[in-house]
Symmetry: D2
Subunit: 99 residues, 4 copies
Amino acid sequence: MVFNEKKPIQPRSEIEQQKVLNRLKRIEGQVRGVQKMVEEDRYCIDILVQISAINSALKNTGFELLEKHMNHCVSHAIKTGNGEESIDELMKVMKQFSK
Amino acid sequence: MVFNEKKPIQPRSEIEQQKVLNRLKRIEGQVRGVQKMVEEDRYCIDILVQISAINSALKNTGFELLEKHMNHCVSHAIKTGNGEESIDELMKVMKQFSK
Amino acid sequence: MVFNEKKPIQPRSEIEQQKVLNRLKRIEGQVRGVQKMVEEDRYCIDILVQISAINSALKNTGFELLEKHMNHCVSHAIKTGNGEESIDELMKVMKQFSK
Amino acid sequence: MVFNEKKPIQPRSEIEQQKVLNRLKRIEGQVRGVQKMVEEDRYCIDILVQISAINSALKNTGFELLEKHMNHCVSHAIKTGNGEESIDELMKVMKQFSK
């Protein structure tokens, strides 16, 4: 996984960071829960219901990050004359995200 | 999490089970990877790209389970005169799944 | 648009057909409504809300057709030993449909 | 349909407007095409493929409007100190749009 070394314009506060981490820890636990269901040969529909729930939890986590990104990084880019580039970058990830 | 104790009509083969478990283990690792990115205060767009990738991996895992479910449980229900009920159940989870 | 000349195993009843056509007529009207909003240079968010509404209406129409297809064509294929092929075909369209 | 009378901060250029209208006219034609397929009792899978195609066309139209909205209305709101409100509004429609 190759990432550019860009950083958020404003570091996440400890509270923000912990909030996102808690969500992700719960999602990690849900994924392990589904593994257990597969090992116990649980009914497929019940497993699919859990996978849908994890998908929603991930999307909500993503939207939270997206909102913060717009309020900080994109807003800063717009105020400093780099709005178009930042919006272009945002649109690409939003299209991927809405699949 | 309340589940009815229904079981798949035909237990997953060891190979099938291992294949799904491997996918879920990878997804679990990806979720931990995103936690690390948040801890390292990585750029929001890079984190969102990873969340989208996890969403796709989860969807593909779901579709694999769905196909197996149709080929086994739903087919058996149809052959034994319980098709409508099984299809009704399937439609509910598919609507959730396509959100 | 190239279509194979396959037909539903059981023709839609007049009531079923009319129900789907009514939905599609409403959707057609909604699309024209959005055209009018664009011509009147309406606020982008209001237009996007309408486009989302059309998307949902289309998805619901699709799910209705999908359910009928499973109860008739797929069930018939399963009963006559062609289940796998019919389910394979169904999975392809479901993956497209859930994007 | 109740709309607030907000207008885009900058009216769409004739070219922009025509581009969006052309897309919507094509979509209108596709919806009528699906009506014809239903009237001709065409195979369900073929109809579903067309409905998916319309969904994609609508989403792409929506993303184009979204990008323009961000580059004009949201950017103006940010520059004039109303960014949070505008981003909040945007997030609501994006969540709807990604279902």
